[in-house]
Amino acid sequence: MMEMKKHQEDQFTKLAVFLSETKQPFINVQTAQITCAIELLKVLPAAQDAVFEYYAKFFDYAISTYLKQLKVQPSWVESSSTSSRLEPLTIPPEIIENVTNIRDVLLRLVEEDHLVWAPVVLHWSYKLLGKVSKHYNMHEFARMPLGDMLRFWSQCSVAYILVDINNKTIAKMMKAEGEQSVDSMIETMLGYKSSSFEWVLAQIGDSFPSLVIKDMLLCGIKEMCITKKFKHTEKLNSFIRILDHLSITYFNNIKDVVFKLFKLSLGEEHQKMTIENIAIVPFLLHMAMCSSTLLKSMLCENLTQITPEVLNKLLPLYPQWKKYFDEQCSLLDIMVQVLLNADRGIKHVLNLIFQLIDCDDPKLKILKTGAQTLFELFLAELEYSLRTNRTTPPIVKALVTNLHSIKLYLLSTNINVAQPAGRLLSCIAIRDQECLLPYIATMLIECENSTQLETLVEILSFGVNMAHFDGGLVYALVKTDVSLSNVWSNINTLLSLESDPPEGISLYGVSLAVVSHLDKICRSMIECCHSGDMHSAHLLSSILSKIATKLCMKEMSVPKVLYCVKAAVLYFFTCLFKEKDEMFKLKACLRMNKFVNTVSYRSSIARTAAMKYILDGVLKEPFSLLFVMPDNRRNDYIIQPLERTSLMGSFFQQEFNLMFGEEISIKFDKDELHPKYKTPVFDAKSVRFNEQRLVSFLRSCYSSDECYSFEPTLDTVVSLALLVVQFVSPDVMYNGLPWPDEDFTKVTIERDVHIYHTITTKPILWTILGILAGHRPALCYCSVLLRAVCACLINHWGAVNHTKGKSKDNRQLLDDTVKLLNTMSLGQLLPKPLDVLGVIVPELTPQQILIVLRDCVWTYTRDHIPAPALFLRNNIGGMWRDTTTVAVPKPYSDSLRLTMIENISQFGDLYARLFTNNKQQSMET
């Protein structure tokens, strides 16, 4: 009993001491008193409130000391020059010591028995924080942004000790009992009314980011569930500010929390789900509208875990979500808005949407249509805002950087996927047109079927996208690591579509763009010809012929024109040479005829070049072999020449070579010894075919008629004649019109032999000469060739004469003689009656032939120089040498006459026609 009494007195003394202390000013408080008070906390639960109030007052006092100092010298922030800046504000050390003591004491209590003390201490510290921050904020400062507030308080160490108490207690609770134990406490803290408390939460959030974020969001969700409506309250704003603050360091936590929350709404059984869990998704969507941080955290790589199946699980919740959205702001609208504001994560969203659109699973049908509708709305909205607003929605930037992710969908064979993807690309192109180029290029390269091409066409025909086709084409053609054949095929299709556009599609400009890549096309074509890839070559030729008309409209640089002519000629020859299918061959030849015709119609340079290339091909192996009859050949196979020099190299050197007469060597980089390169020779039938084709090709060059009627003008034929001379004659000497004395041939015999050899081994030259002869007086310009042949023939026949052989035994010689004579008479170089020489010669002996050639041909032309001036324009427009008036003087025709008389049995009627009437006439005169 006594003991009890003593104890009772003891307790009352302690209380009295404590109460008396509380009446003292705080400046005198000693550390011992602080620790003494804690005794009361433990033994006297009734005194708890008082002790805590005492501590709170002390903290309040400590903070106010600090703030008072701040008020006394408020200039320390502004006046950076004064020394006051060097002395940061200090709270007297003894106060700090006491405050630290209180913290230690409280934390020790918590450590001892957290179950009992942690909630109490936590409650106290948070209440005190709330009070302090509200008090000093209200009175001393106006509403500050969160960052300033944090900075302001971070200078106050006492406040930080308080936060420390709070955080350590939470940490202890979490460690001992798990997160659930703190949830309710945090929730209480989140119930704050004044935004001045924000900084405290931000501070707690710095220590327990996930927890605070989760509780903040849950708190918002609860509120939404209660009001059945999403309201953008001041509280939410405050939450958003805190989230923004936390996102600087704890963005990953935010992401995780958001995703965890989302997973909550994926509970197995929807009946059992709480109303809060159901509201998660609508809430998050609403929040994403308000907070860019949340938006970012939602659109992150976590989205990759959301598959269509997962979304399907959410489907039954949809009817319950409706109530959280109203008329003005439906679910889809919000999602569209969210997407418009999206950032980097947009690629995941796009992936998901396209995945949904692409899937065929009947289970996901609703989602699929949903995704489609959403995307339609989204596109419409995006387009609208891009076309009307000056500001660009954030998504555009993100889209531009993430465009590569939609490439896959652009090339999808599912039209439902490819079309929206295409439209998306087009929309972005409204603002950022540059981005279009690589995708046009990619599509050009990778489109392989009509669906993909359709997407491309749709993109191109959207808005002004066509303007960027050119750029895209550049991109596509620049790529070296891909085969261009697909590009060519796509361009070909596009060209066809341009010329014959389906309804609603305008591809005007494709050909113009293609024209600017003429050299590339030509180079590819040449490469294809060399490598024998006839398929691509045909394709390219098709493109060439399609853009031919545009070629004329555009001012083309000369080298380009020449280059394309070269390609065309090479292609023509290669076709004849390699193409097996007659149809293709014919088609290709006709196409090239037309192309060359179109090109050369405008440009005489092109024409000359074309003719030059053709002659070059004709005169050189292997293409010269095209025109050699089987019986004139030495081998029964064609060996493609072995040339080690790089084809490409030589072509690059010669690419824009303007020099006329420069030899264009067409080289084949093949191994001569390999039997694979021995191709069989052409039979007579194909040689004839080849000749026909060549002639028509040649004609298409020199005919200058838009209507493609192949009517040549004299100039062009003359230039052809000059070219022939240039190619066949080995030097520039003696290429003039006059025929010298026969003796003079001794001087020129080497070159004569050369010319003769060339003409006899390339019989196609006779054909060409024949053409020239037909267009009088073009043949005159070739008189050097005729002269050389004639000189050689005279020499040969002379040799034959000595051996007394028969002229029929010299088949080749006779043929050449006949060809020469026929050509000359056709060209009216040998007027009547000498024009019949060709008919007579085969029946003559070599001796007689020699005489005839000397007297009638050589001597006549020597004395009557075959000049173009002899030809006059007749009434039907052609040039004509009037031989009826200008008769051949007797001395020249006498040999002929005498020879005929010798063989009168054979040439009786011919002789009569030629000479008898003539004689009568002359006798009459």
Partner: protein
């Protein structure tokens, strides 16, 4: 003295003195002069209490801001000291306290007519009194609780407040708790009754059909109290309240903690998961049975004139909630829980058996049999039923 005169005089003093004076004044008003009309006296006392003691109203009778916690503590200390300093009558049996002080206590903390914060004050005061062995306050509180009923709102608020603000902060081996049955047996017994009503009870409206467990410290303390004195639970029954009450007051019938505490033991195996706690419950059950069997016997041998109390009532011994809970548990068909059900039935049987032996059960035999037969089958139960029917 005129009313206003009293007030004006008191207003002349500052805080500590005004309260002391007011307390003395109240004492004289309530216990001293009987010349004035009783109800007028009470009115004056009430006014003085709210203005000068608890400072709930100002001069004009309007409510003021709540006082600071430190002043609150000061006030509590003052009241405590006031009660302790008052002369204690020599015939005090440390059970009912002083009649005059009881009257003051009842005026200070009435059942009706006081603002709600005074309930907190009461809790704090009792808490302080327990810590400081201020027995007279505790005795007064015990009397007040019994007068108002141990399951009344007043009592349960007090009990609940004490659990939250006192028991949780104090360890169960604290000496002030140990000595409580000695210092204030009536208060202890009544507090137990109130506490027993707080837990494992779905009748309380605010718990929202969730069965609440008592904190471990409360459970430990209760077990300790019962073990320390088998008669403790009967205290309310044999205490003569009339002596403790002001003249003219009618003592209320006592409620014993048995029924409530037995209910804890019945519910615990089905609800409690913690093994340590479960052991405590079986300890509690033993202590209760011991108390039923022995406690009354011991006391009645010394005081044969006192009537026999009832420890259990046939009608409430098997509450409906327990039956529902047993049914639910059986549905789970889990061997562990089935075992728990068996324990419950056995405990029930033992408790009733003990009550029957000590002849402190109230009710009809047939009703009891009917009640018991609705329980799941059990050998011990069968024997009991047979015994009752014989």
């Amino acid at each position: 003295m005129d009313y206003n005169e009293v007030k004006v005089n008191l207003r002349k003093f500052g805080f500590p003195l005004s309260t002391v004076n007011a307390l003395n004044q109240i004492q004289t008003i309530i216990n001293g002069e009987t010349s004035r009309k009783q109800h007028l006296n009470e009115d004056l006392a009430m006014d003085l209490i709210s203005e000068f003691i608890f400072c709930e109203t100002n001069e004009e009778g309007k409510s003021t801001k709540p006082m600071s916690r430190i002043r609150y503590l000061e006030l509590l200390v003052m009241i405590c000291e006031y009660f302790n300093k008052t002369k204690i009558k020599p015939d005090n049996d440390n059970c009912c306290g002083d009649t005059a002080l009881n009257a003051i206590f009842m005026t200070l903390f009435p059942q009706f007519g006081a603002p709600p914060q005074r309930t907190n004050m009461l809790v704090s005061l009792v808490s302080l009194a327990i810590s400081t062995y201020s027995n007279l306050i505790l005795q007064s509180a015990g009397v007040q609780m019994q007068q108002l009923g141990c399951s009344s709102k007043y009592s349960s608020q007090l009990a609940d407040g004490l659990v939250k603000k006192f028991f949780t902060f104090i360890s169960s081996n604290s000496s002030s708790l140990h000595l409580l049955p000695q210092n204030a047996p009536l208060f202890t017994a009544n507090l137990m009754t109130s506490l027993s009503e707080l837990y494992f009870n779905t009748k309380t409206p605010d718990t929202n059909m969730i069965i609440k467990e008592p904190p471990r410290v409360v459970l430990e303390t209760v077990v300790q109290w019962i073990n320390s004195d088998p008669c403790l639970c009967f205290t309310a029954h044999y205490t003569d309240l009339q002596r403790a009450l002001p003249s003219g007051a009618i003592p209320m019938a006592a409620t014993l903690p048995f029924l409530g505490l037995f209910r804890w033991c019945f519910f615990a195996p089905l609800c409690v998961k913690n093994n340590n706690d479960l052991e405590l419950y079986s300890e509690l059950h033993c202590a209760l049975i011991e108390s039923v069997m022995q406690g009354w016997k011991v006391y009645s041998e010394q005081n044969p004139r006192v009537s026999r109390p009832y420890t259990l009532s046939v009608h409430s011994v098997v509450p409906q909630q327990l039956k529902d809970l047993i049914e639910e548990t059986i549905k789970l068909n889990d061997p562990v829980t089935m075992h728990a059900v068996e324990i419950v039935v056995e405990r029930l049987t033992q408790s009733i058996h003990a009550a029957i032996i000590s002849d402190t059960i109230f009710g009809n035999k047939q009703d009891l049999v009917n009640q018991l037969e609705s329980l799941p089958e059990n050998d011990v139960l069968k024997t009991l039923i047979k015994r009752i029917q014989v």
